[in-house]
Amino acid sequence: MNNPLIIDTGLHWAAVIVYMIATVVNTYGLIFKREKAERASYFIIIAGLLIHGIALIYRWNIAGHGPYMVKYEILSSDAWVALFLFLVFSRIYPKIRPASIFMFPSTFLLLATGLFLNPEVRKLPPSLKSIWLVLHVTSYKIALGTILIALTLSVFYILKKRTRIEWLQRFLDMDTVDIYAYRFAGFGFTFWAIATLTGSVWAYQSWGRFWGWDPIETWSLITWIFFGIYLHLRRFFGWKGEKAAYLFILCFLLSLVSLFFIPLIQTSIHSEYFR
């Protein structure tokens, strides 16, 4: 037990197990209409979030920097932020609680995927030592969390319309699902913009350039413009319902490409991370 990486991954696995239990209890509660079970699942998931939080703090301590350098810690912190945001938003907007059936497993899948990757600590290069980087990364994580919620609601909309899944019909009416998806997409768009702004301030501070058209910057801009088109179509062209839901799914896939796939396949100033 002297190896800090064993403690680190051990804590992460403990969080995965608690998340799995919460997911099972939550799914049972929602599908079989057991309110007690559904309520209990929130206590369990909060326990998991705490363990996961401790794991991240421990990781931060041994790595000497925030969780934004290697895939393992990036996926772990993405999962934590997404779940934390969902819990906060489901408290403010209780109507979105059924989205837990997608959000809980997404969280533990993100985390578990990270655990199958190399947990080796990478030291922070000097260009990444900046408060703007912390703000940049945090904003993207918040954007991803809210986009995940919007995705869940968009998928709910399509499923409600296209299928006769009994338990799904119980939750929210179609219009409310649609409007919540729109709202969370707006949240995601705003935080994506903040992430881009802080990133450009950081780039200017480090290289004297606010924009360099590097592959990740370019894809991030493409994704942001797509989100902008989605919002524009909804607001000015009256797009809603299924059409808007499908467009949002496309936007979500683009955001995955920008955040996870481009850093893997292309070299850029951003590929210091996620390799």
Binding site: T190, I225, L233
Partner: protein, 440 residues
């Protein structure tokens, strides 16, 4: 005519089409290698591999999309459309904020109560009394939300206009100096970028690189890179500055950044069979690890071959800070390797038709010199965009209207500009305060 032009620029379809065209341009710039980010060697390689596309690339400037006339025109039309739209949005926002409002639509209920009580119940929900007329009282929650769209548009205009100022007036130069080397103002940069409205980028004083200090983590990753620069004026006075990654210096309005490029510079002498000597300085990027090489390719006018080089920070692969690096040179003629040699400092060996000797090794590092105006405008523009987006999506205005009928009944109407179902609780709270009269 003017009205038709204005309608065209304000059309939602025009805006959408412009956004899609700009998006298309960005995708094109991503697919086709761009000159500003691709070395000439890589560019040539791409052209050889894609001869079908070369005429299109030349015709449409697909290798420099962001500096083509058609892209500038596109951006200009987009900017024009945004400016006109911003003025329209200002007019609309003034009307929405300070006008009498429109009482049609929304939800309403009737109530018999004292006007002050109704007003108090509405204000309790965070609504302000604004405008209205003699017949109708108007209350708005988050009236500034009506200005979100104005700010969003204004921010985009500001950011694009500022980035145009930057693009047109910027001067930027990269130097790669070896320890002890002096750069004289007016001589060539390694790379230079400048806007259309500027002349050559000439430093006000000569600059020399005094020393380079790289530091590494135990994992061989770079921990820090610090250099010392000296500026010298014509009177021979020196001013010394320390530069590091993320630690810039500002010298007479010019900001200097530490580039991430650094490594060892090998002084190599090539002697041909006739005894003629050619001196080369091979600047190679520092290797990422002690057992991994750093690479560089070089074309010299004096040598008719491609020179491919790599080096290890330590010939024994034990340290990143060794004074005993190992250089490997290959000569390539039309894709065929005609000679290869591995050398340490002071060693000689046969390299194809030459005898190669490493006569010295020094450190080199890159420095970026930047002279630009307009950056605060870009960041301010971004900031305004975020405020505008935030107001639009997080603070959609909601309104209550109170209208008194001849019968003495008050009709209370409520509506939200967006996301109505999120906020109808506010309406329900006011209606239930008056006995929960059934909404009509």
């Amino acid at each position: 005519m003017i009205r038709a032009i204005k309608r065209f620029f304000l059309s939602r379809k025009t805006i959408l089409a412009l956004i899609l065209l700009i998006l298309g341009a960005i995708v094109l710039a991503y697919i086709f290698p761009q000159r500003f980010s691709t070395s000439s060697l890589e560019m040539e390689k791409w052209q050889e591999a894609n001869p079908v596309w070369v005429p299109w690339v030349d015709l449409l400037g697909l290798d420099h999309v962001y500096s083509t006339t058609w892209f500038d025109v596109l951006l200009f039309i987009f900017l024009l459309s945004l400016i006109i739209s911003t003025f329209e949005q200002i007019k609309i926002s003034i009307k929405k904020t300070f006008g009498h409002g429109v009482t049609s639509g929304g939800k309403n209920f009737k109530v018999i109560a004292l006007e002050e009580k109704i007003v108090s119940a509405i204000k309790k929900q965070g609504y302000f009394q604004i405008a209205g007329n003699h017949a109708t009282l108007r209350f708005i929650k988050y009236p500034w939300g009506y200005w979100g769209s104005v700010l969003l548009h204004f921010g985009i205009v500001f950011a694009i206009a500022s980035s145009l100022v930057v693009a047109l007036t910027q001067k930027r130069g990269l130097l790669q100096l070896v320890e002890g080397e002096l750069y004289v103002p007016g001589t060539a940069w390694v790379t230079e970028e400048r806007g259309l409205f500027t002349g050559r980028f000439i430093l006000p004083e000569a600059v020399s690189l005094d020393n380079i200090i790289p530091e590494f983590w135990e994992t061989d990753d770079l921990k820090n890179l610090t250099t010392t620069l000296s500026f010298s004026d014509p009177q021979g006075r020196f001013k010394r500055y320390t530069l590091a990654i993320n630690q810039t210096i500002n010298y007479r309005g010019i900001r200097v950044y530490q580039s991430q490029g650094f490594g060892d510079a090998f002084f190599v002498k090539l002697t041909d069979k006739e005894g003629r000597n050619t001196g080369l300085i091979l600047r190679i990027q520092n290797p990422a690890k002690r057992d991994v090489a750093g690479y560089a390719n070089l074309k010299s006018y004096e040598i008719p071959y491609l020179i491919k080089t790599k080096y290890f920070a330590d010939a024994d692969r034990k340290s990143m800070l060794s004074t005993n690096p190992l250089l490997v040179i290959r000569l390539v003629d039309k894709g065929r390797v005609i000679g290869e040699v591995s050398l340490k400092n002071g060693e000689s060996g046969q390299l194809g038709p030459y005898t190669a000797t490493v006569t010295g090794i020094s450190k080199w590092a890159g420095m970026i010199f930047v002279d630009i105006t307009g950056m605060p405008g870009i960041f301010l523009g971004f900031f305004i965009i975020i405020i505008g987006g935030g107001l639009t999506y997080f603070m959609p205005p909601r309104e209550f209207y109170i209208r008194k009928e001849d019968s003495g009944l008050f009709i209370i109407t409520w509506k939200a500009t967006r996301f109505e179902s999120f906020y109808e609780e506010e309406y329900e709270k006011v209606s239930s305060a008056f006995g929960g009269l059934k909404p009509q």
